[in-house]
């Protein structure tokens, strides 16, 4: 499997920098700093996404800013280093939230950058890891005596000729570089597992710096490869697996070392082991190919449409599952394998499933990727519709007013309009026929059946809403992702609660107040939340304005299997029904057949 090989090379390269930097992190108490550098990359990613430069540049730039700010503020005498790190970190994150929410209106693409993966490693990542290794090796060779001396005794350091804070700054820079280089492999939240935990484990058994460094490099490599291997075996995300493996090894070493107090260690191991065991139960993937055509679909709704058209001839692997948050998607080995085996790949398009490109590269797949959104009428997010015909051209409410025009990405949520779904079905049919000419007639039959169902779905939703006067079809949604639905059925989405699509976005008090005024002025009937996000804000807005709390809609994903919304048509029915109940004051729903 080629993707495993790339991952192993990345681990081997990273482990050099990780082991060396990790040793200093542990000896000099820089764990929090290294965690901070990783997490603080968020505003860099927002800027990179918003201004259109590479994510790596954004992350490295933020790491530099973080380091400089930490060094600057830590000169203040009465604030501990840990408090300084915390303050700088929250400042960076707050800046990122404001940038994402109020300046760029960032899309979901920003989130996926926060979650790196060993399964999606490109040559650029390996190059960075190699540079980090060289930087760590050279700087350790040059500065380790100074770093050790300063860690040993800050006060006597001047007499040892390492009094300059430049040495500390160099150390912080090396750590920052290592962490940032590792981000694309394990993600911001788990990067510490790869860098700090092996060094901390080795430190339990050795007291010599050189031994510690060699040991940490070796252990980081072993734990990384073991984690990757286990993740392929159990089909779990490698980053989390590496974290759990490292934690268990640490606990084991600690327990064997402290046999005297092994009861507490046994407790710790039991807790961690239990967690791993439960986690291990969490999966089990069925089905090998049985002569059917293997097809990969990125999102849940695309998978459903493909399955409808393909019928028994194709085996569809949907990469996003109903219970994975599309914003926090981290690929699993089976996903890469599925992409590698796929005869054709269907994607939604837009930043909803941008990650598929890396996955295709990584898997070495030669298959064609069909972008279902590509041929459809373009709608600009923020409310402006570049399309003739029905629908509103009102900017989506208070939250994006003013910022919407600059934000202007295309809105990728096309599937909320059944006509678009019909167009997608046609695209799917011709693509499938192209690679499997023998099944052509079957695809045609299934596709036209599906088209008929979509037409009747569309007609009955339209009929349903026609019973409500247009001036009452006014709603507020959680995110700006129901534009296509609204345009189709003459509904006005007067505003949205959250200004941007990234999970980090926050509304402002002023925008929400304005939204509440708009709700009252425009006689909005209902406020809706979303299934995959917390609903406290929309609840609050509904409560304060006294309009109907319409409950959650399916915005980005179908419902769990077993629910009424587990298929595309079911999802559309559910959404229509809930919106109808909302605008009719719970008087009536949509009976869509």
């Amino acid at each position: 499997m080629p993707f495993v090989k790339e991952g192993v090379i990345e681990i081997l390269l990273l482990s050099v920098a990780a082991g060396l930097a990790g040793t200093w992190i542990v000896l000099r108490g820089l764990s929090f700093y290294s965690h901070g550098v990783g997490t603080a990359s968020f505003p860099g990613l927002v800027l990179a996404d918003g201004l259109g430069f590479s994510a790596a540049i954004g992350a490295f730039g933020m790491a530099a800013v973080f380091t400089a700010l930490s060094a600057l503020i830590s000169r203040s005498r009465r604030t501990g280093a840990d408090s300084v790190t915390a303050l700088v970190l929250v400042t960076c994150l707050a800046a990122g939230v404001i940038l994402a929410s109020d300046v760029f209106g960032s899309g979901a693409g920003v989130d996926s950058l926060l979650f790196g993966s060993l399964l999606a490693i490109g040559p650029a990542d390996q190059l960075l890891a190699a540079i980090a290794a060289v930087v760590a090796l050279v700087s350790t060779r040059l500065f380790s005596a100074h770093w050790l001396a300063r860690g040993f005794d800050q006060e006597s350091a001047p007499s040892l000729r390492s009094g300059s804070t430049w040495f500390d700054l160099a150390l912080l820079a090396v750590v920052a570089f290592t962490v940032t280089a590792a981000l694309s492999a394990v993600g911001a939240l788990l990067v510490v597992a790869l860098i700090v935990v092996p060094a901390a484990t080795v430190r339990l058994v050795t007291r010599r710096v050189q031994t510690m460094q060699t040991g940490a490099v070796a252990l980081a490599a072993v734990e990384g490869i073991l984690g990757l291997w286990l993740s392929v075996k159990t089909d779990a995300p490698p980053g989390a697996t590496v974290a759990v493996v490292s934690g268990l090894v640490f606990a084991l070493v600690l327990a064997t070392r402290n046999l005297r107090r092994s009861r507490a260690a046994a407790f710790a191991i039991t807790v961690l082991g239990l967690a791993l065991a439960i986690a291990g139960c969490g999966d089990g993937r069925a089905g090998e190919g049985d002569g059917r055509i293997t097809v990969v679909a990125t999102t849940t709704q695309v998978a459903d449409l493909v399955a409808e058209v393909g019928g028994d001839r194709v085996e569809v692997t949907g990469i996003l599952r109903p219970n994975t948050d599309p914003h926090e998607y981290e690929p699993r080995p089976s996903d890469v394998e599925a992409v590698g085996d796929a005869a054709i790949i269907f994607r939604n398009g837009g930043d909803i499933d941008q990650w598929i490109e890396t996955l295709v590269d990584e898997s070495g797949s030669e298959a064609e990727t069909v972008d279902l959104g590509a041929g459809l009428p373009v709608r600009i997010s923020g409310g402006h519709v570049h399309r003739t015909g029905s629908g509103s051209d009102v900017p989506a409410g208070g939250t994006t007013a003013g910022g919407a025009d600059e934000a202007g990405d295309t809105d990728p949520h096309w599937w909320h309009d059944p006509v678009n779904a019909g167009a997608a079905v046609a695209t799917i049919r011709s693509s499938l026929s192209g690679i499997d000419p023998e099944g052509r007639s079957g695809y045609r039959a299934d596709a036209s059946a599906m088209s008929r169902r979509l037409n009747s779905l569309d007609a009955s939703i339209a009929r349903c809403f026609a019973a409500i006067p247009p001036n009452r079809r006014r709603i507020v949604t959680e995110h700006d992702n129901f534009g296509y639905f609204a345009d189709r059925y003459g509904i006005r989405v007067v505003g949205t609660v959250i200004p941007a699509l990234t999970t980090e976005a926050q509304p402002s008090a002023g925008d929400l107040a304005e939204l509440e005024r708009t709700i009252e002025d425009e006689n909005v009937e209902a406020v809706f939340s979303e299934t995959s996000a917390p609903d406290d804000l929309s609840h609050a807005v509904a409560t304060d304005t006294g309009v109907t709390d319409g409950g959650p809609l399916y915005g980005d994903s179908l419902g769990d299997s077993g629910t009424a919304a587990s298929s595309y048509i079911g999802m559309m029915r559910e959404n229509s029904d809930r919106i109808m109940r909302g605008v009719s004051g719970e008087m009536r729903g949509c009976e869509v057949e």
Binding site: G29, S31, F32, S34, H35, S76, R78, G80, D82, T85, L87, L89, T91, A94, A95, S101, D102, L190, V192, V196, V197, L204, A236, P237, G239, A240, A243, V244, S246, G247, F250, L254, A268, V271, L272, A275, L276, A279, P322, N323, D325, R332, Q506, P507, S508, A509, G510, D511, L512, A513, E516, T531, S532, P534, D536, H539, A540, T543, D544, S557
Partner: protein, 277 residues
């Protein structure tokens, strides 16, 4: 002018946010001082991630999510103290090891088809989404934390001053650290629901760090920290109202500005003192 002050108050959203930030600000001011003096900022920032596996486990077995989160975060706090003591490591390293392992385990557990999406989001609230229940819970748990801090005050003071004297003074240092981290965890658990993770870390550390620059006794430090937290919280919400910036992030920026002001004031004070001598 008067209108400018009262206008935001006519909205339930801002009113509840102000109430929540005031309550949590007071509690954070008090416990934040111990976080700063005991150098627990890393815990204050990271422990919230420790509730993730508990949350997933609760979702899988059908227990109340809040209960799962509480168990998760308390286990994380205990493991941090136990691992730190056993390894003889700085608590820093122990947090790094424990939190990443637990978070990783949480991610793996969340793969189970039975676990709902966006779980962590369900427990991480937004300041403007504060409910009356949130405020009541914050009031009750916050009072409990304040009472516990008041009862432990002298012992926390003595051990923070000189950990080595703990045994001679009859204060079990390990247990005290565990209780303190437990209180921090409890505060975080309550506060993340109202404020979200980002703001919780800021309000636990920022005001106390600012107060430390300006005061030389613990009680005044706590009062100053509470005052800074509430002032910055209110200022942040008003800024979010008038400048239309993200609410939680605005409060964080206001908190950081307060800290920078305090640092400048302290610098000025030291300079004038140096000139006088």
């Amino acid at each position: 002018m008067i209108d400018a002050i009262f206008e935001p108050l006519s909205y339930g959203i801002t009113l509840r946010a102000l109430a929540e930030i005031t309550l949590i600000g007071i509690v954070s001011g008090a416990i934040g001082c111990w976080i700063v003096l005991y150098e627990l900022s890393y815990s204050a920032e990271s422990l919230a991630h420790g509730l993730f596996p508990g949350l997933v486990a609760a979702a899988l077995i059908g227990a109340p999510l809040l209960l799962g989160g509480a168990v998760g975060i308390l286990i994380a706090a205990i493991l941090v103290v136990v691992a730190g003591r056993m390894a003889g490591e700085s608590p820093d390293t122990a947090i790094a090891v424990v939190i990443t392992s637990l978070f990783g385990a949480g991610v793996l557990m969340a793969l189970s088809p039975d676990s709902p999406a966006g779980l962590q989001g369900l427990l991480f609230g937004d300041l403007l989404g504060t409910t009356v229940t949130d405020i009541l819970v914050a009031a009750v748990i916050g009072s409990a934390v304040l009472v516990a801090l008041w009862l432990l005050h002298e012992r926390l003071l003595a051990v923070g001053f000189d950990p080595g004297s703990g045994p001679a003074l009859g204060v079990p240092v390990g247990v005290l650290n565990l209780i303190l981290l437990g209180l921090v965890a409890t505060t975080i658990l309550v506060a993340v629901q109202g404020l979200g993770n980002l703001l919780v870390a800021a309000i636990l550390v920022g005001p106390a760090a600012a107060a430390r620059l300006l005061t030389r006794r613990v009680w005044p430090m706590m009062l100053a920290a509470g005052a800074v937290a509430v002032t910055a919280g209110v200022a942040g919400i008003y800024a979010s109202y008038y400048l239309k910036t993200a609410a939680g992030a605005s409060v964080v920026i206001a908190l950081v500005l307060c800290y920078l002001l305090a640092a400048a004031a302290a610098q000025l004070r030291d300079r004038t003192a140096a000139v006088r001598h």
